[in-house]
């Protein structure tokens, strides 16, 4: 059952590649709708994106270490228990770690509350995306960032203001306003739930996040530059970037199915019988 569950998720990238291969003939056959002169690279941020391991770190720890450490104020550093750490976004609650190996056939329970989102909504993963794909739709009044692994961010372009400080309950996606500078989308976010920030940073509802989303001249990659500003937390603005690869036209968003009622969602490896 566990394998079946994994199989569904792991099969997905393979299928996407297959899909690309199947799409290939449509551009090679003369006379198809795509047989036209090459046009300018697509500089729109609309599309499907997946975070790229730019430095070839090869694992999550390596990726995290590429983020320059945040320069915290002494008060903030004391509050988080010392120097810069590697805090990420809010987690989903891990299970207790056993002190002794489980017997054969007894699964390790690694998530007590799988699929649950009891806090303040989705969207945290889209502030600092993980390896799940993100999908962006651009409209003149609003840009939407949707995550394959849950969460939606609404970025308003219709000149509405942020809500007055303290008038809204902080949420994981915050409240975001956007505007374009050339082809780059500049996003201003406040009202985030308190938590960690990549590079050992912190955030509160008062912390301001500025993002710049810009597609490379060849249209193939997008860089999101994050700048966190909060004089109570940072000695200077905390800045770092993520790079994303554009998926080909015709790609589609995967469904991240998770059934909280299925006990299998709580567990990880089931130890097999061991040789004596």
């Amino acid at each position: 059952m566990s394998l079946t569950c994994w199989g569904v998720d792991m099969a997905v990238p393979r299928l996407r590649v297959t899909m690309l291969l199947l799409l290939l003939p449509t551009v090679l056959v003369p006379g198809t709708v795509h047989a036209q002169a090459p046009s300018a690279p697509d500089r729109h941020i609309e599309g499907h994106w997946v975070r790229k391991d730019v430095g070839g770190a090869g694992n999550f720890g390596g990726l995290a270490n590429q983020i320059p450490p945040a320069q915290l104020t002494p008060e903030a550093a004391a509050g988080r228990g010392g120097g810069p750490g590697r805090a990420g976004g809010p987690g989903r609650g891990g299970g207790q770690q056993p002190s002794t190996p489980n017997a054969a056939g007894v699964p390790y329970i690694v998530v007590e509350r799988p699929c649950a989102n009891p806090g303040r909504g989705n969207g945290a993963l889209l502030i600092n995306p993980d390896s799940g794909g993100i999908h962006i739709i651009e409209h003149k009044d609003e840009v939407i960032l949707a995550g394959e692994r849950g969460g939606v961010r609404h970025i308003y372009l219709d000149a509405r203001p942020h809500p007055a400080p303290g008038s809204r309950v902080p949420v994981n996606a915050g409240h975001s306003l956007g505007r374009y500078e050339g082809d780059a989308l500049i996003v201003d976010t406040i009202g985030l739930t308190p938590g960690g920030v990549a590079g050992g940073g912190l955030r509160t509802a008062e912390t301001r996040l500025r993002e710049r989303l810009e597609v490379s001249p060849d249209g193939k990659t997008m860089t999101i530059t994050y700048t966190w500003e909060d004089p109570k937390i940072y000695q200077k603005p905390h800045t770092y970037s993520y790079v994303f690869d554009r998926l080909p036209s015709g790609s589609y968003a995967f469904e991240d199915w998770c059934d909280a009622g299925d006990p299998i969602e709580k567990q990880s490896i089931v130890p097999p019988p061991q040789k004596p």
Binding site: D9, N59, A116, D158, K220, D259, G261, Q267
Partner: protein, 256 residues
């Protein structure tokens, strides 16, 4: 598990991306040079906005069901739906189109995204391809694979690839979504863009005797409406679980 899962997925994904990028380079010229925004889209062909169903929004005739859809089948489906609600599952089609809260619909160049206000994910109607992903590739989902095109001022969305069990499968008027379901939706703005009509037509050789058509009319909310992004659905809320799974309500129970 999440971390492990993500880690394994990532390695596959990176491989897919590398390969994908190579292939993409071959047909990068496919990308058309269009404007970034949808500003040039005629108002009658921009469905974007915040849309709400009201008390008078639904016109749903009874479906003409096959005899195979027995009372027992319907009861089983109702039980599954209750389970999906109980465990905060992804809602899926068609329930997401009537989930009780406004929808944020945004129309981009390549897709229309339909975002509900709850823990369920968004739905996409793809405008940038005219054929469905092949069934040998596409893993069935609660939303299916939706492609859409314009016929005059009507956006016609075509959806197949439904998962037979995930989420809430009951269809308004009777019947249920299955692996053989085919849905055609016709989106059209009415009354100067203040009303969005969506006519749904389901066909399914295993469920409906004749195509089942119903219509929802959504009312446009003010442009500065702010959707809730935090509506929680906590499957591990004990009180909620007891309410949804407890004994049937009875007189004098007081909701205990």
């Amino acid at each position: 598990m999440r971390g492990l899962k993500a880690g394994h997925m990532r390695s596959y994904r990176v491989a897919a991306i590398v390969l994908g990028a190579g292939i993409a380079a071959l047909f990068s010229y496919v990308a058309s040079a269009q404007t970034r925004e949808t500003a040039g889209t005629p108002a009658s062909r921009d469905l974007s906005g915040f849309w709400e169903l009201s008390f008078d929004s639904r016109r749903v005739p009874d479906a003409n069901l096959l005899s195979a859809v027995t009372r027992a089948v319907r009861a089983e489906r109702a039980k599954r739906d209750a389970y999906a609600i109980r465990w905060c599952n992804l809602l899926g089609m068609p329930f997401v189109m009537d989930s009780g809260r406004p929808l944020d619909i945004r129309q981009g160049r390549t897709a229309v995204i339909i975002v509900p206000e709850n823990a369920s994910g968004p739905r996409y109607l793809y405008l940038d391809r005219s054929t469905h992903i092949g069934e040998e590739i596409f893993d069935p989902t609660a939303y299916g694979d939706s492609i859409a095109h314009w016929e005059g001022d009507t956006l016609v969305a075509d959806t197949i690839g439904f998962h037979p069990d995930r989420g809430i499968t009951t269809i308004p008027g009777g019947g249920h979504r299955s692996a053989t379901s085919h849905l055609v939706e016709r989106y059209r703005l009415l009354q100067g863009g203040q009303v969005l009509s969506v006519v749904f037509t389901w066909t399914d050789p295993k469920v409906f005797r004749t195509p089942h058509t119903y219509e929802f009319r959504y009312y446009r909310l003010p442009a500065d409406y702010e959707p809730r992004t935090w509506l929680p659905c906590d499957p591990f809320d004990d009180g909620r679980g007891q309410f949804l799974e407890g004994p049937a309500p009875r007189a004098g129970a007081g909701g205990k």
